[in-house]
Symmetry: C2
Subunit: 329 residues, 2 copies
């Protein structure tokens, strides 16, 4: 959002991010400190993540190195309910490192997994977790797996030692934690980037007696090709339109990447409806014709700041945008 497009004094004073320092690290790299207003996070996990590295995650030459969080933010989210001390207490192990192992591979039956667990427990492993690849597949339903594994563990062990792996959306996650609890299981494994940070945080809040082990699956997802993730997969999951940073704007996607992304959104594909490509990110009025030439007319052109920057002439600029698009098709 261009600063010059902001007319509200309150926003300029209280909301806009501030560059608090720039240090030249050499070799063309810079360390930049940006101050953000707590209010912008709404104290919600997803929105905090979005403020920290939402759009910035798309900038190919930007990395999020660290974040300092004020006390009220930390307090609002709350952190672990059990932590290492909780695992220690449950296991009765005060003064040594804990051991853990994993139940896998995928494809084993619940009985086979229970057998593995029993053998690991017999061997004295402290914590026995499902491989994160164990979800709710047909060959090993979550409920069947938890029943089979806990049946093979001593009741006291089930509470502190076995950690089944959760998957799915919030309702499914809740149901799985309840199943675990019904079997005396007090800890679980979940991949926050897979289920989403909001769901992860909601679960933690709703089940204070359960210990959560986080798994890093998908935590490095930037290297997915944009046409696959934003194009093909978002469409697969139901996106009627998909916004992406177009070439020549503020972001680094190439013409080729954008073309592939639009194609992935629109192309005939196993009978699915076509989605709408929405190129955006620093688009300006003077690029309308170029964009139309590149994307064709099956597109939603998105111009944000460049219109709002018009200030009192916003309507005029909007009209100009509408006209240029109408004229260009």
């Amino acid at each position: 959002m261009p600063l010059e497009a902001i007319s509200s004094a309150a926003v300029l004073r209280d909301i806009v991010g501030r560059v608090e320092g720039i240090a030249d690290l050499g070799d063309g790299a810079f360390e930049v400190r940006v101050g953000l207003a707590t209010a912008t996070t709404g104290l919600e996990a997803g929105q905090l993540m979005s403020m920290l590295f939402g759009n910035a995650s798309i900038l190919e030459d930007v990395a999020l190195a660290d974040a300092e969080l004020p006390a009220d933010v930390v307090e609002a989210f709350g952190g672990p309910r059990h932590g290492l001390a909780g695992f220690r207490a449950r296991l009765g192990v005060a003064d040594r490192a804990l051991t853990a192992s994993a139940l896998k591979p995928q494809g084993l039956t619940p009985a086979q997994l229970g057998d593995l667990a029993s053998r690991l427990a017999d061997g004295g492993i402290d914590l026995i977790k499902d491989d994160h690849g164990l979800a709710d597949q047909s060959y090993s339903r979550f409920a069947d797996r938890v029943a089979a594994v806990t049946q093979r563990l001593r009741p006291a062990d089930a509470v502190g030692r076995y950690l089944p792996s959760l998957s799915g959306h919030l309702d499914q996650l809740r149901a799985q934690v309840r199943i675990a609890n019904d079997h005396g299981v007090g800890a679980v494994v979940v991949a926050p980037m897979i289920v989403g940070l909001p769901a992860f945080h909601a679960l933690v809040r709703e089940f204070p007696d359960t210990a959560f082990m986080a798994h890093p699956a998908l935590a490095g997802a930037t290297r997915i090709s944009p046409s696959l993730l934003l194009g093909t997969l978002f469409r697969l999951f139901g996106a009627d339109a998909t916004i992406f940073p177009t070439h020549g704007g503020r972001f680094g996607y190439s013409r080729e990447t954008c073309g592939a992304l639009a194609t992935a959104t629109l192309r005939p594909w196993r009978g699915l409806r076509a989605g709408a490509p929405v190129p955006a990110g620093g688009m300006t009025l003077d690029r309308v014709e170029e964009m139309l030439e590149f994307y064709g007319r099956d597109v939603i052109l998105l111009i944000g700041g460049a219109l709002l920057a018009a200030g009192s002439d916003l309507t005029g600029q909007a009209q100009a945008f509408a006209r240029r698009v109408a004229a260009g098709c």
Copy 2:
């Protein structure tokens, strides 16, 4: 999972991924085709993502270039309910590109956003969306914003033109879609990587009349420093323990990265409980002492495949693991 650790013929035949081709692209790069079994996805969005690029996302020299999805998977997820044609139909625009703009910046009041929307609509913009930064913050609650914006649009425009931005976990997302519907709004913006793909897909299924515009925020999150994301932030959101790929194993994290990650999990920090670092990823028995020396005893050592590879001697290997850890502390 080492193949030699798999004793089930059914798993080897039906579940294990297959390398279907390797092509040398030059300059040390290779294109590798891997075939995965549909059953491993459980036909659930998060688990599909996990199979495609869960752990692989952490491998610094691996990128997910593309994925071919069989018809039954595509059919199960279902794709867009409206797509570009739906936007066209609602807007009555059949034969040209559509226009869109965004309501921002954050910090404006609902009335101010409504004013912007009204002005954009007056200018003839087809689609007016909330900036994805508009969540449910104190200065612009979702319900207030939708009420204020729709009040400024003609009723017919509210259905097809305004797209408020959703945020939060599944219950919050559902409540927001219902609020939008109550105001005649039939389309929304949401960032799937922020709310989580399972939540995104659940929403799409539950609200077939609503059109969803996907936003790419966080879709490039790999460049977050691991100590921040897996250490500090996962802990902040409630992780009692956090698994990460330790140095010297299958993954590329350095000793320094792992040390920083463990420190972020354990260090005294604004009164939060310490989480448990769980280094993993190709750990073997012969590294127990080294790991203990490096991480100290406030750690959960995780060894999976290397134990399971023992086959019939699993119990023995597990015992050996337990013993080595006990002896090393």
